[in-house]
């Protein structure tokens, strides 16, 4: 870049340096320890050097990448390379097939070659893939910003939990294995979530964007508070424990075997979710959703019932969360309201947005990153939210579509010329 403005560049970085030093001074340089009611301030002067230097470097890097992203010719060239990369690795059918098959194979044999701990970690990652795909129906397909997804997760989990709490004794008395309850709870959890979905959506679907987000957020909190405070029914903050694992041919399974068994159940559900979402996307209703996201007024004027279509998306998403909830309860065998806080909803949202709104492979990748990384990098666990926040901000700026951008399959009319051209191409 010839007309590179060094002065401007340095000036901006310098200003950010001062700004950050000022901002972070009380937090990082001054350390306050309270001892016997007395506040004791220790100054950590080392930070006074670290902050400005890192702020300066980060700000300079930031500007550099911003400019590179917006830069004309260079950006074009990079775009070309990216397109080439996409063509050879992502859109190439063989590559796609091979990677999908190997991913499925790895996942299918995962519990065989990994221990119980890893299997359990992977189960929760898979459950989050389901949650992400469910939210993806609402957000990616239906275009509704839904911040209360965890509430429906809770509905599913508590459907199973409460069913066990109140009907478990009956099963024991009748001599039926309580493991059967899982198979009853599974559809019931989905149905209950659908019922709650309808209840919430009736007043909510007329709202748009921010309002919808606020109301769903509030709903999530209300749900959690009800679970927490309605102690004599829901078990309150202590929750419900000893929830039975799924029935397996009457075998009294060891925890290790149970984990493997649940793994495969969850894995099957993930596969079903993937197929469902991709089929929905490429169907009549998927088309209507797409049109709805593009322009609601035009869509309505073409005879499409917005409320009905939104309701469908919302309920489907909720059902998915409900089923995931039942699976979650059977995996952990213990649930309490802490598993269904606002943060859980936000985490699921991060999975979808970070991975790529509307993109199935994106959501899967997002869930794996967000659930597995903190698990295996315990050292960073306490900075988790910070890192996610930062990742999201960077993402919004540099790659607003998410890690894997959604590529929609477009209906094509088979034109004769195109067939000819294709035939020529093959010769």
């Amino acid at each position: 870049m010839e007309d590179f403005n060094w002065k401007e560049y340095l000036k901006d970085s310098f200003i950010s340096m001062l700004w950050f030093s000022l901002l972070l001074f009380p937090m990082l340089v001054m350390k306050i320890t309270v001892k016997g009611g007395m506040a004791d301030v220790t100054y950590r002067w080392g930070y006074l050097v670290v902050i400005p230097v890192s702020a300066f470097i980060l700000s300079a890097l930031w500007k550099y990448f911003r400019e590179r992203q917006q830069g004309g010719d260079k950006a074009d060239k990079r775009g070309e390379i990216a397109a080439l990369f996409r063509r050879t690795f992502i859109e190439n059918r063989t590559v796609k097939k091979v990677s999908i098959i190997s991913a499925i194979l790895i996942m299918a044999f995962y519990p065989v070659f990994s221990g119980m701990y890893n299997t359990n970690v992977m189960i929760s990652a898979l459950i989050y893939i389901m949650l992400g795909l469910g939210l993806n129906i609402v957000l990616g397909l239906g275009g509704m910003l839904h911040l209360g997804h965890a509430a429906f997760f809770a509905v599913g989990a508590y459907t199973y939990g409460l069913f066990f709490k109140y009907a478990g004794q009956f099963f024991v008395d009748a001599g039926i294995s309580t493991g059967w309850m899982f198979w009853i709870a599974l559809p019931a959890g989905g149905i209950m979530a659908a019922v709650f979905g309808v209840l919430l959506s009736l007043p909510v679907l007329r709202l748009r964007g921010d309002y919808l987000a606020i109301v769903t957020l509030a709903f999530g909190e209300i749900m959690r508070m009800v679970l927490q405070n309605w102690g004599n029914v829901t078990g309150g903050a202590t929750g419900i424990s000893l929830i039975p694992r799924p029935w397996l041919f009457g075998i009294n399974v060891t925890p290790r075997l149970a984990a493997v068994y649940i793994y495969y159940i969850v894995f099957a559900f993930v596969i079903i979710s993937i197929i469902t979402v991709s089929r929905l996307e490429n169907s009549r209703i998927g088309r209507a959703w797409e049109a709805m996201r593009e322009d609601e007024i035009a869509c309505q004027s073409m005879g499409i019932d917005l409320v009905r279509n939104k309701l469908t998306a919302f309920i489907l998403g909720s059902v998915w969360a409900g089923v995931a909830g039942v699976l979650f309860a059977s995996q952990t065998t213990y649930i309490n309201p802490d598993s269904f806080t606002i943060w859980e909803s936000i985490l699921i949202l991060c999975i979808v947005v970070l991975g790529g709104t509307g993109s199935i492979s994106g959501v899967i990748l997002g869930a794996l990153i967000i659930k597995l990384l903190p698990e295996y990098m315990r050292a960073f666990a306490q900075y988790r939210l910070l890192v996610f926040g930062l990742a999201l901000v960077l993402m919004m700026i540099f790659r607003p579509g998410g890690i894997i951008k959604k590529v929609r399959k477009i209906y094509r009319f088979p034109l004769d010329e195109e067939n000819d051209a294709a035939a020529e191409g093959q010769n």
Partner: protein, 259 residues
């Protein structure tokens, strides 16, 4: 002549502004009727009231489909219901589904003629697949009528401006209307495109038996194709009649040329 739409004492008030002020209007079956008036006269607002985008403050709109005896009130209904009753429209500020292909835009218009439900989408049974195949073919036929079939697989946003306007018409047609409301279909078109548009509109009327109500600023187009013209100014209907009558009407001349 049979009347297929009747607007009765319709008013639409925005805050203190009477965008439409006690308008009466009727549309004859099979006619091409034009609605003209200076900028901001309330033409688009009237379309929005007819198609359910706005709920009129007072008054009513009723329709009588060709061949039906009873007329029914449609004002106050939701836009999609009104569309399903056979009224389709285009938008002055083009509102295509720009990230969908030309074909898909038209397919969306056929949405409510299709039956496939969630189960169909998930199972992809034969009925669903056949239906999808049929809607693709039907949509292509509709595009042919408007001479857009060569763009069939293009993204709507990549079409030239004139073609986008025509796609608006094709999309509206795909909902099988008996009354088509066109909001400035010739805006931004060159003279050649306008002439083609004129042909298309005439053909829709004669071959498809569709009644047309159009808003247009291109006076030569309006005078050429419409049998009946309504003139609005400041929300009031100031004149109506045949093109010749309207042209000579002193109120109309005043509204257009100013005092």
């Amino acid at each position: 002549m049979e009347k297929i739409m009747e607007i009765d004492n319709l008013s639409m008030v925005f805050g203190g502004l009477k965008a439409i002020d006690n308008v009466n209007m009727s549309i004859n079956s099979g006619a091409i009727t034009a609605l003209i008036g200076p900028n901001g006269a309330g033409k688009t607002t009237l379309f929005n009231c007819i198609t359910g985008v706005y709920k009129p403050t007072s008054g009513s709109v009723s329709i009588k489909k060709p061949g039906q005896k009873e007329s029914e009130k449609i004002s106050g209904l939701k836009p999609h219901i009104i569309n399903r009753k056979g009224l389709a429209r285009t938008f002055q500020n083009i509102r295509l589904f720009s990230n969908m292909s030309v074909l898909e835009n038209v397919m969306v218009g056929r949405h409510h003629k299709l039956k496939a439900n969630i189960m169909g989408a998930l199972l992809r049974d034969r009925k669903t697949r056949e239906e999808e195949e049929k809607v693709v073919n039907d949509s292509y036929e509709i595009l042919k009528k408007i001479n857009l079939h060569k763009f069939v697989n293009e993204m709507a946003r990549n079409l030239p401006y004139g073609a986008q306007r025509r796609l608006e018409i094709a999309r509206a047609l795909s909902t099988d209307p008996f009354l088509l409301l066109l909001d400035e279909p010739a805006a931004g078109m060159n003279p050649l495109e306008t002439r083609e548009l004129e042909d298309t509109i005439n053909r829709l009327r004669s071959e498809e038996k569709i009644t047309i109500l159009l808003i247009e600023h291109d006076m030569s187009l309006v005078m050429n194709i419409s049998e009946h013209i309504y003139v609005v100014d400041y929300g009031k209907m100031i004149a109506e009649g045949s093109p010749d009558e309207v042209k000579r009407n002193p109120d109309v001349i005043k509204a257009y040329l100013g005092e």
